[in-house]
Symmetry: C2
Subunit: 341 residues, 2 copies
């Protein structure tokens, strides 16, 4: 399926089959508008349904978190669709709504991200100390803990407590900020626009071909992946957070590609390879941010050296998870290009 859209983005293949406006192709511009409109109305409806559920949930607990998640999910899809298929839509309306949706999903994502980060770091500390003291190796539990293991165990508990304190505070702040956002005039303006979108999608007069625009989104992704030096190989700078940026960019482009594929008629589910690649890039982002959180915690004034030591081990561990995620992405991506000849 991916390859099909790559081909349609080839200028030599777009002429007779899908012309600008689609007037002489098998699918007309009006049909493309219908497909796009249906998708956007669905997502807008999902957005409004999630918003209602969030209000009914009392804005706290599991149901509220789930409603915030589906609200974010719909906001991301609407925003991504406005971006990829911009020529098919009213440009002014689209350009005004997109940054507002990005603001909203960004604000709502913070609380969840803080909670996940704390879980990731706590589990990593547990894994590291378990490994170091050999408690996961039953036949060696009787052996005395080594000096290295003792050094780590000394600081790990304090490091866990420090991270818990810092990330719980960050999470609480993010929760308040999200609630404040959802009650703000800015949010109400977004919700009003989405409510209009649920019944009427402002299409452009001329427009462009849906598969062509989806193909361009895929080409942008392919180019960005090619620009990563060795997607499957070990990079020489695992500790350099600045080197993460191109990977974060690919994560966003892959998301846009997946959403564009959702708009097009075809199989409901994304290919397993794309899902695996996206999962690897999410892990990459999570590990990079967790590593930064460990480094940040290590700069807390007056912490014990043992705490700082454990945070150093933790930081390095998460940076190695970053590297592992890059390798996992490379593997998944390679599988894709080989799998669809």
């Amino acid at each position: 399926m991916a390859q099909q859209h790559l081909e349609s983005s080839d200028p030599s293949g777009t002429g007779p089959r899908i012309g600008p406006g689609g007037s002489d192709g098998p699918r007309t511009g009006a049909e493309d508008g219908d497909i796009l409109g249906t998708y956007l109305r669905e997502q807008a409806t999902e957005f409004l349904r999630s918003l209602r559920r969030h209000g009914e949930s009392g804005a706290a607990g599991g149901p509220a978190a789930e409603a915030a998640r589906t609200l974010r999910r719909a906001a991301r899809r609407i925003s991504g669709t406005l971006h990829t298929f911009r020529p098919l839509l009213d440009a002014e309306w689209s350009d005004e709504l997109r940054p507002e949706l990005a603001w909203l999903s960004g604000t709502l994502a913070q609380e969840h991200a803080c909670a996940d980060r704390l879980i990731r770091l706590t589990e990593a500390l547990h894994r590291l100390t378990s490994a170091a003291t050999g408690s996961t190796v039953p036949q060696q539990t009787a052996a005395p803990a080594s000096a290295s293991a003792t050094t780590l165990a000394l600081g790990a508990a304090k490091a866990a407590a420090l991270l818990d304190r810092q990330l719980t505070l960050a999470r609480t702040r993010a929760h308040s900020a999200a609630l404040q956002s959802l009650g703000s005039p800015r949010f109400h303006a977004v919700a009003d626009r989405v409510a209009v979108l649920a019944s009427e999608v402002p299409l452009a007069a001329g427009g462009g071909a849906l598969p062509k625009l989806a193909g361009e989104a895929e080409s942008r992704l392919d180019e960005a992946v090619s620009a990563l030096n060795h997607p499957g190989g070990r990079l020489p700078t695992p500790y350099n957070p600045d080197a993460d940026a191109p990977w974060h960019h690919v994560r966003l482009l892959l998301r846009l590609h997946r959403y564009a594929q959702e708009v097009l008629p075809g199989p409901e589910r994304a290919p397993a390879r794309l899902t695996a690649a996206a999962h690897a890039l999410n892990t990459h982002r999570d590990a990079a941010e967790a590593a930064a959180a460990a480094a940040h915690a290590a700069r807390t004034p007056r912490i014990a050296p043992a705490t700082a030591y454990a945070l150093g081990v933790l930081h390095a561990d998460q940076r190695h998870q970053v590297e592992a995620a890059r390798n996992a992405f490379g593997t998944a991506w390679h599988r894709e290009t080989v799998g669809t000849p």
Copy 2:
């Protein structure tokens, strides 16, 4: 060549070709004794020559270090040969000399090990901070250093100074201990025995077949390698120093195997695959000890948290080098078993 000795260690193959005492085989017990005697005399001569050079060097500087290295090299080979070919030698004499040679080479190795460890850790810190601040990525030098990089840079210089102090002190102590050992009555007794060995090797009356004993050394190595769960795969406990022991054991068995191959007539040089496997296991040992030294330094009282943080990152880095060395060993070892069908 390796496979040849594996075959000769097969009980069904040893009967007619190389009987006990070798009386009806193509090589007699006396011939085996000659071969073994020649090798041991050579090594004993090298031992004495190195000892003389060490004395002439004034026991300091490059020539002294080089003499200590060749002295250790000969001591290890004599000790290993006494172990592998014990049935061919006077047992009482052999059992008395071996632990004395192990004591000597162990004592002499410490100074060199401390110096190497300091170089390894200093280089690793430099690599980690260079990577973190992006100075190895020319197009990104203009970007501001991230918070993570700053945290590491803060502590790395102090960590390097601390390690330099601790390992230089350890090295100086090891140097004194080595000099003291070389002047001790215990050492003179070893040197006297090696001097006798240089002219006359005390062979046993009956003995055994040289290739059979070398084959047994190889079998012990093969069994120990098989006991390592996944020589080529990633182990789940990279931070557990207790899990290093079987790898250190394989390192010693591989050394015994290589020395046994030196005794036997055949190509002068060990196969490249064996050399690569041995190199990987040496790196494994060095990285494991460097990681322990970083952890040890982190327990120094009253160090700054930033120093401890950098030592934690360094420790984790060296433990990942341990893991990488295991993978490198697995690759080299696999190459070997595939390469000699």
